[in-house]
């Protein structure tokens, strides 16, 4: 019994110790950001690899999610003769929840894992130590541009996911099950509130983006420099990043839309 308590205590201490290390790591990165602003090319390069290179998976997934949403909405609403409201369901679901959450999950899987692997490999091949010895701060030159780029890329990717999802829903609703085109677009426009729906979704995506890149760069920087260690770090990024997205989504939804 005492042994189990000891193990539990050690795990709790280890979790908090890691959280402390990650917070200090983030603090060091934030301190370097002002100096980074004079080198926008570093951020643009990372925007390309975290944002542009994630675009394809976002577009494909967004389209299918929108199509499935429209189809499921039709199957339910047609029983009540309310199939004209498909667009309302598709658009609101995408903007409030699925847009930021699905983009966050895909971003953690595609860009987050790539960031961890890249930084972990830089560590194991001594590139980070090499920079240190060249009197170049890896926090400013490697970590900060990636964190900033991820933070900026997520809302843009979310917007693309939402737009493509709405278009996917349009394809199924209008060309698949025969909803009148004017009804689809006018209801979508009428029932969406810019601040409550769209901006709240964007705020969620900013929070998710920030947390995912924070986890990704920390896991890479803190990884054990072996192939096994790198694999474990990449897995942790995807698992912790995805769980953080889902957990934070509940919290943010409760704050934004509920009275909890």
């Amino acid at each position: 019994m005492l042994d189990r308590l000891q193990v539990l205590g050690q795990r709790v201490i280890s979790v908090f110790s890691r959280l402390g290390q990650a917070t200090l790591f983030l603090y060091q990165i934030i301190l370097t950001i002002p100096g980074l602003l004079s080198r926008p090319s570093l951020i643009i390069k990372q925007l390309y690899s975290t944002g542009v290179q994630t675009l394809l998976i976002i577009v494909v997934a967004g389209c299918f999610v929108g199509m499935v949403l429209a189809l499921q909405a039709y199957y339910v609403l047609v029983d009540f003769g309310a199939e004209d409201s498909i667009s309302q369901m598709v658009v609101l679901t995408l903007m409030r929840e699925l847009g930021p959450v699905m983009t966050g999950l895909l971003f953690a899987g595609r860009a987050g894992s790539a960031l961890t692997a890249e930084i972990g490999l830089m560590k194991s091949t001594e590139q980070l130590s090499g920079m240190e010895m060249m009197a170049v701060d890896p926090m400013q030159r490697v970590m900060a541009p990636r964190v900033l780029a991820g933070f900026l890329a997520m809302p843009m990717l979310t917007a693309v996911f939402m737009a493509v999802g709405v278009l996917g829903g349009y394809l199924v609703a209008v060309h698949g099950v025969g909803i009148f085109e004017g009804v689809y677009w006018s209801l979508a426009q009428l029932k969406v509130d810019f601040y409550t729906d769209l901006m709240n979704g964007m705020v969620k995506s900013l929070v998710f983006g920030f947390v995912i890149v924070w986890i990704a760069v920390f896991e890479g920087y803190d990884s054990v420099p072996t192939s096994e260690g790198l694999g474990q770090a990449t897995t942790r990024t995807v698992v912790h990043g995805s769980l953080a997205v889902l957990g934070l989504d509940f919290l943010l939804t409760a704050i934004m839309f509920g009275d909890i």
């Binding site: 830089m122 091949t125 001594e126 130590s129 090499g130 240190e132 010895m133 060249m134």
Partner: protein, 255 residues
């Protein structure tokens, strides 16, 4: 200076003197902490006791800004080369120059080509690090280590895994660059003949202590059995071939 990792003591009160303008070698068996020693000198690790002085500066009492200023005067060749893999050879050499100077791109080009010419790889400037052989990568890393015209260069296992031609090239380069650029070089290695051929002074490290030191000739003539075993590469001697274990027969019979 002493250094520990957790409860494991890596260095026990050792004292070394790196002479200006000379090639000083630090040799010893694998796992004795030779690379750790270079990281201590470069300020990447902190000693648990004692101090490391470079040009009168206590490395570990410097502010981060001053430490970075000091590192601009130090070059380091990592065992793996540590080249940045997303940029080509030219940009790797230009990287520290672009980071620390405001020089015109034309001048940077000339400087980089001169550094690459010194290591014989001017023609490889467009190659990516993944396209280089091990020996070429070390030479590029060597060119990068001298990019900012340092006063001191540290070489971490420069000869490991090199074919005889690359090894010969690297040996000559370290010696010739030390003379022509008036450097102070620290070479960490366990490749005995190559290191002894270019060193002015050698420290032999084992078990966290300096077990012998002297010029290559002094060490060759040493009567210390440990030194002789290390230099001649004998499998058994003061450093046993077998890791501590019970007698073989007892082990085989499962007693």
């Amino acid at each position: 200076m002493s250094f520990s990792r957790g409860s494991r003591e890596i260095f026990k009160n050792i004292s070394l003197d790196i002479q200006r303008g000379k090639v000083t070698a630090i040799m010893g068996p694998s796992g004795t902490g030779k690379t750790t020693l270079l990281k201590l000198i470069g300020g990447q690790l902190k000693p648990s006791q004692g101090s490391i002085q470079i040009d009168g500066n206590n490395v570990h009492q410097l502010s981060r800004k001053d430490l970075y200023q000091l590192r601009k005067r130090m070059g380091m060749l990592f065992q793996s080369g540590a080249l940045l893999t997303d940029i080509n050879v030219f940009d790797n050499i230009a990287y520290p120059i672009r980071e620390h100077t405001e020089l015109d791109e034309n001048l940077i080009r000339s400087l980089v080509l001169m550094k690459l010419n010194a290591v014989g790889l001017r023609g490889a400037r467009e190659l990516m690090p993944s396209e280089l052989s091990g020996g070429m990568a070390r030479r590029v890393a060597m060119a990068r280590a001298i990019a900012l015209d340092p006063v001191m260069v540290m070489y971490d296992e420069p000869f490991t895994g090199q074919d005889p031609i690359s090894m010969g090239v690297l040996v000559n380069l370290i010696r010739s660059m030390n003379q022509s650029l008036h450097l102070s070089s620290v070479v960490v290695s366990h490749d005995v003949p190559e290191t002894m051929s270019i060193s002015d002074y050698i420290y032999l490290i084992s078990g966290g202590s300096i077990v012998a030191q002297g010029t290559p000739d002094e060490l060759k003539n040493s009567s210390d059995p440990w030194v002789q075993q290390f230099i001649a590469g004998q499998p058994d001697g003061p450093v046993p071939f077998h890791y501590t274990a019970s007698p073989l027969m007892q082990d085989l019979l499962g007693e």
